[in-house]
Subunit: 190 residues, 2 copies
């Protein structure tokens, strides 16, 4: 394996380990073992566990399929539903584990690490901005009550999504997802 | 310090440490140091870190002031608002840290520890039941749309609350709380 691909293997393994185990429970050893590289090689590519966690957040963001929110094939609110249905499948298909890496780091690490908190904030802010623009588009199309505050509603829906993932992992059931789709689409965005 | 009060000191210190640091980042040493007792004394009172975490969940539940949800002095929806306003103050007054211990363990530990997941599930279920009964009471009083599904709405509001706490810690701002109160009370429960 060349230098670039070894870095890639380690970065991807770090992302998978942080997502599955959390930040504190993941040791450098877990990462290098999962990547199939010697433990010492981690520090050839990353200065610290924190640095690999920051890259994991960026890799996680790339899995969120934000392109679904702007696809021209569906009306805005149907795109929103498809986006969250797509995201729910990752949790369901894996047996109700892992959830959202941004929310997990928010719950576990944000209080203790300013760089990770800032990266998580950037992740949430970018996501909420995309949701807010979609809601404004739905208002312009006449599909959504024009008096609804799109910024606060987008922030609320994203927060609700994060809590829904936790509730689904704790309950190991679809009930929190069902409650999310029902309340968001039949009540908030009606 | 007698035997009973030493156990109490350790249990309380464990609760505080888990709430502040999370499960994996809290060592037995952190707990006994915070309690001001010798490290070895932990195992005179608890068989494992997990056992002290289960007791921490129970201690946390005792801080949630569920009595506010059934107080006869206010109409149901005003009690609901007062309950979440009370809870938001713990996070705000502490500089946007700590959040909810049930949600934190849900995000960090539920995937990996069946006993803690079950205890967190019991915590969420009991809380959602109380919220659901309050919503049914509001419907009976004519203060809430009778067609609203109280069980799903209660579960959704609790999930949204958990995510709101994470968003507030990540953002270190009131914005997620403001969005929660605005959407829950002006949109979902109108």
């Amino acid at each position: 394996m060349g230098r670039a691909s070894k870095r890639e293997e380690i970065a991807e393994a770090a992302f998978r380990q942080f997502h599955a185990r959390g930040f504190s429970a993941t040791g450098i050893n877990d990462i290098t073992k999962a990547a199939g590289v010697p433990k010492g090689s981690f520090y050839n590519h990353f200065s610290s566990k924190e640095e690999s966690a920051l890259e994991a957040l960026s890799r996680y963001a790339d899995t969120l399929r934000f392109d679904m929110l702007t696809s021209p094939d569906l009306p805005p609110l149907e795109r929103l539903r498809a986006h969250f249905e797509y995201l729910s499948r990752d949790t369901v298909d894996n047996g109700f584990v892992r959830g959202c890496l941004v929310g997990n780091f928010g719950a576990e690490v944000a209080d203790h690490n300013e760089e990770i908190r800032t990266a998580a904030k950037r992740g949430f802010d970018g996501w909420a901005d995309r949701l807010s623009r979609l809601l404004a588009e739905a208002q312009e199309a006449g599909d959504l009550d024009g008096s609804l505050g799109t910024v606060a509603t987008a922030l609320f829906i994203l927060s609700a999504w994060e809590g829904t993932l936790i509730a689904a992992r704790v309950d190991k059931s679809m009930a929190p997802f069902d409650a999310f789709f029902q309340t968001v689409f039949d009540r908030i965005l009606r």
